[in-house]
């Protein structure tokens, strides 16, 4: 592991047995995991490049138990790493050697479905897909649909502000939740929002969304549900080059069309996926676009024709329109299984998540191709083209010495390129540990200090998920005294961990 985490506190680690004993008094004893073999199973989330078994895993079952655990940890100065389904791709749930991993896997109940107010109240461990499944028979769905939606939890979605293929038109998690119950580090249970819009006061709902488990532990989520569009159709378009596909993407958006989803895959990704899903993707093209239009049937027909025409102008060499629901879902199933399907062509992959202006698509893809040669690793590209959110999958073999380090360096270069062309480091996977040390590429010390100040308002001792998001660890007291001088902080040279 080339990653530096905050040094573990030996004074806490020697108390491991007594801490476990105390936790067994707060939750059913079987819900406290301490054996070495079993802790290993919790040593990483969906980002396997970094691993660290936690000191202890605790699996509470109620909000009161979460509150009691946090109160205990705050009193004893013990670090806490919240964890949902462990599908995150930025290492947001990477454990700490001297920290407790607080798993919310037992919070699996849907508490209320309220159709007239068009919302669901659910515990955080409920999977994203389960929300839609709970209401689809009544003609509703929950819009954000990250590719891992079958397994990822709604609590984790809130923590990461997850997106998905349909957020181009329907927004990301923060646009689709109404309320939260959360527990602060001192054990205080707070309720933010509810079934109404725009909770009064500062927008804590917005601030908590995407806070990567650093501000509070979410114990309940109220999400908005939407009526299912009356019609949905998808186009499967094939292009002779990435450039042509990129031109098509820009042309659609510039043409005033906001598709429900607009996804792109390049040749290596198409081949990996088709092998598993048999979605009927064309194998003799360089790039495919899946463009979905939804809404009233007449509008869908009209827009499908317009997109098909724009695609032809951009040089599309393959065009298939989903003939029925099964075919539309088949187009998507390939896309949604794309990441893990890469496991079929490579033992390991490192998934990037930068966002760029749509207009820079072709240029960035060309630069990534150059880097492939330089780093000696290949890349499969899968991404949300409609909103410029790239997911280059860098294929590597962790068993080969040096490959992980090369993959990391490659990834860092891609993300810096994203920032260089006017984009950002992460579109939906979060900073976590993965992009933590790249934050200075986008933000200076003062920018980062503001974010840490928000953290200080919630968790002044820095016990919740430390080591994530921020490249340098400031004590809140230090931040308070921080002196700004000509745009530079006094301790800009402070070592990163």
């Amino acid at each position: 592991m080339t990653l530096c985490m905050p040094a573990a506190d030996p004074a806490v680690m020697v108390r491991r047995a007594s801490i476990a004993e105390a936790l067994r008094g707060l939750v059913p004893p079987a819900n406290v995991i301490t054996e070495e073999e079993t802790l290993r199973a919790y040593d990483s989330d969906g980002l396997t490049a970094y691993r660290q078994p936690p000191m202890i895993v605790v699996l509470p079952e109620t909000t009161a138990q979460v509150s009691a655990i946090l109160k205990y940890c705050a009193r004893e100065g013990i670090k806490v790493v919240p964890r949902g389904s462990g599908t995150g791709l930025s290492g947001g749930a990477l454990p700490l050697a001297d920290g407790i991993t607080l798993g919310l896997g037992k919070f699996k109940r849907i508490l209320e479905i309220d159709y007239p107010n068009r919302c669901i109240r659910a515990q955080p461990g409920v999977t994203n897909l389960a929300l839609t499944q709970a209401v689809q028979h009544a003609g509703f769905y929950y819009a954000p649909d990250p590719s891992s939606q079958i397994a990822c939890s709604i609590g984790g979605n809130v923590a990461e502000n997850s997106g998905g293929v349909h957020c181009l038109k329907y927004g990301v998690t923060s646009n689709n939740i109404l309320g939260l119950e959360a527990v602060l580090i001192d054990g205080t249970v707070v309720t933010i929002g509810g079934k109404h819009l725009d909770a009064g006061g500062y927008d804590l709902l917005g601030v908590m969304t995407g806070s990567e488990g650093l501000l509070a532990v979410i114990t309940e989520v109220t999400v908005r549900i939407l009526p299912k569009p009356t019609a949905a159709k998808a186009l499967l378009l094939g292009f002779p080059s990435n450039e042509a596909a990129g031109i098509c993407v820009s042309a659609v958006i510039a043409g005033g069309i906001i598709p429900a989803g607009m996804e792109m895959m390049d040749r290596p990704a198409i081949h990996a996926v088709e092998n598993f899903v048999h979605a009927g993707y064309p194998l003799d093209v360089e790039a495919i676009l899946i463009v979905e239009l939804d809404g009233p049937p007449s509008e869908v027909e009209e827009l499908i024709a317009r997109v098909a025409a724009l695609a032809r102008e951009a040089g599309a060499c393959y065009c298939r329109i989903s003939a029925n629901e099964a075919e539309r879902l088949a187009f998507w199933s390939g896309r949604k299984n794309a990441f893990p399907a890469a496991g079929r062509i490579s033992p390991d992959y490192y998934c990037m998540d930068g966002t760029i202006p749509r207009g820079a698509l072709a240029k960035v893809l060309a630069r990534i191709r150059e880097m492939e040669t330089r780093f000696g690793l290949s890349v499969a590209n899968v991404f949300h083209a409609g909103d410029g959110n790239l997911h280059p999958l860098i294929l590597y073999d962790a068993n080969k010495p040096g490959e992980l380090a090369r993959a990391e360096a490659f990834g860092a270069e891609i993300l810096k390129l994203c920032v260089e062309v006017g984009g950002v480091l992460t579109g939906e996977h979060g900073v976590g540990v993965e992009k933590r040390d790249l934050m200075p590429a986008m933000f200076n010390d003062i920018d980062l200090a503001q974010q840490q100040r928000l953290k200080c308002a919630f968790d002044p001792e820095g016990l919740l998920n430390p080591g994530k998001v921020f490249p340098t660890l400031h004590r809140c007291a230090e931040l308070g005294r921080m002196h700004v001088h000509g745009g530079k902080t006094a301790f800009a040279g402070l070592p990163r961990f």
Partner: protein, 399 residues
């Protein structure tokens, strides 16, 4: 008192860093009367820091300075068939100011959104990135210029609706979206409250993509200026937007779904109608106190009943029945208590317009439970430890 017209970010840093006491912060001042009354203090005005610095229609983004008027931005976007999808309302006239004079900075800082809120999101959802100067005099930036961005905390959300109490924005990147080609509004006439809410729930639960839904009681219908609405019956309004054929098809479907006596407004009349709804025009001309009450949609009728029980009060509804605009003759403690009791089960009520002495006595913003109030105070202290920026604007004890 002194009015400090900010000309640049450096100037703003200087003004805040050198401040020895609290400052009032405003964009173009149209919503000065919103929030707790500010004592007479030096005022930082952002009106001079104006202008669109970049507009990229194909990227759906524009960069503006905070003092730019919303009206100017709207005009610019319209040239490329785009718009601000959150429909920032023009509350100037409600506060006795000239129309079309409010700033984009102010619209975001007050987190205002029009009738499309439940579908397209609020101001908070359309701010992609910003630069600002905190109460510590630190110039910083957050967010970016792309829609998909989770790099660091979402400080855009924190800025939207913070009424200038944490930091003062100097530049904003805002989302632009294609404007609908056609708009049509179905007006269901004469429904009682129960039937009206049933119709709204039905319409919003359908796949017809309704982008505006409101209820106007008979007493207020004439205030919407439409001749057809002057007949003294209630109006339940449902808006459809999109391509011409799509709107026509959905209108047919919606009429079939809901039945009953109805009228239709086409594009221009629709736009006028919904602007009146969003801008609270029915109450612009009178001198009653105005409340903005946000509740779960099905709680709307209860709020309507509470408002009705206050003599001389009126309310109309937006956001599918989830947002009430209520005008109350005497915004005394008693009526405030009645309204706030109505939202106790979930929601919030904001006293948007009232004489200073009333806004000093009745908390204009919904009081928070102690745990959240303490948290918000800690946030305020982190960003503005000296209490320079708009202190007391939101709550007496915090910011």
């Amino acid at each position: 008192m002194t009015n400090i017209s900010i000309a640049s970010e450096a100037h703003l840093v200087e003004a805040i860093a050198s401040a020895t006491g609290p400052l009032n912060v405003e964009g173009r001042g149209t919503k000065r009367g919103f929030g707790r009354p500010a004592p007479s203090r030096p005022t930082l005005s952002l009106a001079g820091l104006a202008g669109v610095t970049a507009y990229e229609p194909a990227e759906l983004v524009l960069d503006v300075k905070p003092g730019t008027t919303v009206a100017e931005i709207t005009r610019l976007l319209a040239e490329r068939n785009q718009e601000l999808a959150f429909e920032p309302p023009d509350l100037g006239p409600l506060f006795g100011m000239a129309p079309d004079s409010g700033s984009i900075g102010g619209a975001i800082a007050c987190n205002l959104a029009g009738p499309r809120r439940f579908k397209a999101g609020g101001a908070r959802d359309h701010l992609l990135g910003f630069s600002a100067v905190s109460g510590r005099g630190e110039a910083f930036k957050a967010g970016g210029r792309v829609v998909k961005n989770v790099t660091g905390y979402d400080l855009c959300k924190l800025m939207a609706g913070s009424f200038g109490t944490l930091a003062v924005m100097t530049a904003l990147s805002i989302k632009a979206l294609p404007a609908p080609e056609k708009v049509r509004t179905l007006l269901l006439l004469g429904l009682d409250r129960t039937a009206a809410w049933e119709a709204m729930v039905k319409a919003l639960s359908s796949g017809h993509e309704v982008s505006g839904a409101g209820f106007v009681p008979a007493s207020l219908a004439p205030a919407f200026g439409e001749e057809r609405l002057s007949s003294g019956v209630t109006v339940t309004a449902l808006r459809l937007e999109g391509t011409a054929r799509s709107v026509a098809d959905r209108m047919t479907a919606l009429r079939a779904l809901l039945g009953g006596r109805s009228e239709e407004l086409h594009t221009a009349n629709s736009r006028t109608f919904w602007k009146r709804v969003g801008d609270v025009q029915p109450f612009a001309g009178d001198n009653r106190a105005v409340w903005r009450i946000s509740v779960p949609p099905t709680r709307g009728p209860d709020i309507a009943e509470i408002v009705e029980s206050i003599p001389g009060a009126d309310a109309y509804f937006d956001w599918g029945g989830a947002l009430a605009w209520a005008a109350v003759p005497n915004a005394d403690a008693k009526s405030a208590e009645a309204i706030r009791t109505g939202v106790a089960a979930g929601g919030h009520a904001t006293l948007v317009r009232a004489p200073d002495e009333i806004r000093a006595a009745v908390a204009p913003f919904q009081p928070l439970p102690p745990s959240l109030a303490a948290l918000e105070l800690r946030i305020k202290q982190q960003f503005d430890p000296r209490g320079i920026l708009n202190p007391g604007r939101m709550w007496a004890e915090t910011g």
